[in-house]
Symmetry: C2
Subunit: 425 residues, 2 copies
């Protein structure tokens, strides 16, 4: 355990109080906050006073006490304390969500994207669309913007804010001397946090969705690529390097199909959209053999779905093989991590009718017997706004963890000079 300085301990306690109020489904009394945090009532009184003074929390109408006695005032997040933006960058589109401090979505925006693109072009596009989303919510919002979260597919080192590889980015050029988060921080003037996209969907599920009361969950995302976000023991799991949960790049065969990451034999190279398109071309179902853009893959994937739904046996087989391969490895993730819930999401689930039976059958076959009854698989398609809300939630989490919630934002307005995660970077 790291040694904590007293200032850090105080900050930890502020975070515990904020986090308890944030994840509660309704306002909490001070006694309830003490119960949920394990802090003493006097400590909670001191901490909530600081958070009320700063404007992070507000007092709301109290529930009548059970005994009919004095009503205790209850505490909730102050939605107007700060604004944050979350962005989901997919290979073919960009989705922006503007959220208030309570995590409520106030505006969204979705635009097409042509990837892979240079980092410079991505930063320019992101800045333009984020400003557009902010403008759509009214002029005062921009001044209270406290941070931006960006969810990207690929290998994202969330601890350093670095994208090591992503299908949306062309390989780094000499122009890209700054990391993506730093370049976007410079463009926007607020702290920027970069994360793997599936982790952000998992965070949204944990804060607002299925996983609110689930300690161990795997969120598998099937899109242009394959993703995995893990909630283990109640927290997003990132591992030592920030690069954990790379289900997509499990090496199934040393000399297997070439993955978009450049390695051979990755699971993704058998089950993602582009992998199915390759199989469809090899089977003569789809025309052409030239490399496809992301939009091209989306269109060809849609064509393959159409053929399968029309009853084309070879096309149906491609989706069934996708289901049984993916199901086997989801089952193996269950063998390794024993979650109670597996969510399968992403635009690929719109074709779940074609692969879900094979997926469930293979998952069951792969799982140890005791898991077969215990683990629930939920398949659905929520849309990119939820991922973007997850990216915004990451910013809220970072704000809660920092001293900004109490100091910078409230006392002096949003002070971006002192507030960033890496002020000396």
């Amino acid at each position: 355990m790291a040694r904590l300085q007293s200032r850090q301990i105080s900050q930890l306690h502020l975070y515990q109080v904020l986090h308890a109020v944030r994840l509660a489904s309704e306002p909490l009394s001070r006694a309830e906050i003490a119960e949920r945090t394990g802090l003493s009532q006097p400590a909670v009184s001191t901490l909530t006073r600081r958070l009320l003074e700063s404007g992070a929390l507000i007092e709301v109408g109290a529930r009548p006490s059970q005994g009919g006695g004095r009503r205790e005032r209850e505490l909730a997040m102050n939605p107007d304390h700060a604004w944050v933006v979350g962005v989901k960058v997919a290979v073919h589109q960009l989705t922006v969500a503007l959220c208030d401090f309570a995590g409520g979505v106030r505006n969204t925006l979705k635009v097409p994207l042509s990837s892979p693109m240079t980092q410079t072009a991505l930063v320019r596009t992101l800045a333009r669309e984020i400003e557009s989303c902010l403008a759509g919510a009214g002029g005062a919002v921009r001044q209270r913007l406290a941070g931006v979260g960006v969810a990207l597919p690929g290998f994202v080192d969330s601890m350093r804010g670095e994208v090591l590889w992503s299908p949306v980015l062309k390989p780094a050029t000499r122009k890209d001397t700054a990391s993506l988060d730093q370049a976007l921080t410079d463009a926007m003037g607020v702290p920027v946090f970069i994360e793997n996209d599936a982790n952000m969907l998992a965070l949204a599920e944990q804060w607002f969705g299925h996983a609110a009361r689930v300690a161990n969950m795997a969120v598998v995302t099937l899109e242009h690529g394959l993703g995995l976000g893990l909630v283990l023991n109640g927290e997003i799991y990132r591992g030592h390097s920030g690069l954990a949960s790379e289900l997509a790049h499990l090496q199934l065969q040393r000399n297997g199909f070439t993955c978009q990451c450049g390695k051979q034999g990755c699971l993704e190279a058998y089950v993602a959209h582009y992998a199915l398109v390759r199989q469809g071309r090899q089977a003569g179902l789809l025309a052409g053999d030239e490399p496809l853009t992301a939009e091209g893959v989306m269109a060809a994937h849609a064509e393959l779905i159409k053929l399968a739904r029309q009853g084309n046996a070879r096309a149906r087989e491609i989706f069934e093989t996708q289901g049984s391969t993916l199901g086997q490895w989801i089952g193996n993730v269950v063998n390794l991590l024993a979650p109670q819930l597996v969510l399968l999401d992403g635009d690929g689930t719109s074709a779940a009718d074609l692969y879900e039976p094979a997926l469930r059958e293979a998952m069951t076959q792969a799982m140890l017997l005791p898991h077969r009854e215990a683990v629930q698989l939920v398949v659905r398609h929520q849309g990119d706004e939820v991922w973007a809300r997850g990216a915004a939630s990451l910013v809220l989490q970072r704000l809660d963890e920092s001293t900004e919630v109490v100091e910078s934002i409230s006392r002096h307005g949003v002070d971006h000079e002192s507030g960033g995660r890496r002020p000396d970077a």
Copy 2:
């Protein structure tokens, strides 16, 4: 977050204090305990007073303060507060470790075992050998025995104390109406905790070995079977069901080799001792085709090692394939969980000269590029006493978490009637 009652909060704080002192490499001052736990100094004073009164902690000679001022008395675990026993049950031998309350090993014992055996026979053997180990340490020890931890290979639901399947046990008979932990509790008169064996090696590493400062670690064990213990975010990871980390039974092929668990295509069926013996027989290197006992597998495995070391090309190839298969899947565990350290242990590592180069090469090939520099693989063979010490540590952890440390053990001696984990079971 679950709501905690004030008694639970107090217990949680006692645990935090005990845990900080337990994992410290040297005695701690009250100020250091406050720093490490995030508790206030007055709270630490109250809590340590209770723990000193109960005898769980002792005061030891103080270090001189840096400023040359008043010396503060320091706190350490009281080794004589209670005794615990840990047992590692392997298919061919039983290892017992008697530990004091500080986790120091006071006596060990190792006897051969003929498995699979009935639960009744295993309980009888365990009780006899544990009593023998206790007797070897002197008569007073038996009265202060506070619990027994048993580490077993197989599917062990640590939350319910149930062995769902283990290579050391014959399938349950009608006589086995009680669970293993309950049957052994009845035989020994103290609380008994059952756990997967690899988890217990991981716990020993975390408390006393390599992983003291490692937040994310995978311990892979290669023996008669294959095991995995995970430390994630500083804690042994058990998942929702207590059955997590089943690396051995990852399904590689739906119609692959039959595993000792009964499923087909499990990773273990390609790399464990019995899998190599099967391959050696198929290649005509080892005689016989009758089913082998655990001892028979050990002997045949030793014969195969001898052949390979003598230069037999086919035998060498079997070990190289073992290495490359195991390396690939260790690499994939790294892709999923991004630990900073992988330990490979178990008696199978005594033949590491035959497979380690292939294992390291395949692991590197399977891992994403960023992990190749960041992850350390350590291969060694520590012996079964370390696993048994881990099982004893589990009992200490359960004692720390319970109220027994403060109440039952100290004030009234070891009160087994009130102390068990499941008093109403």
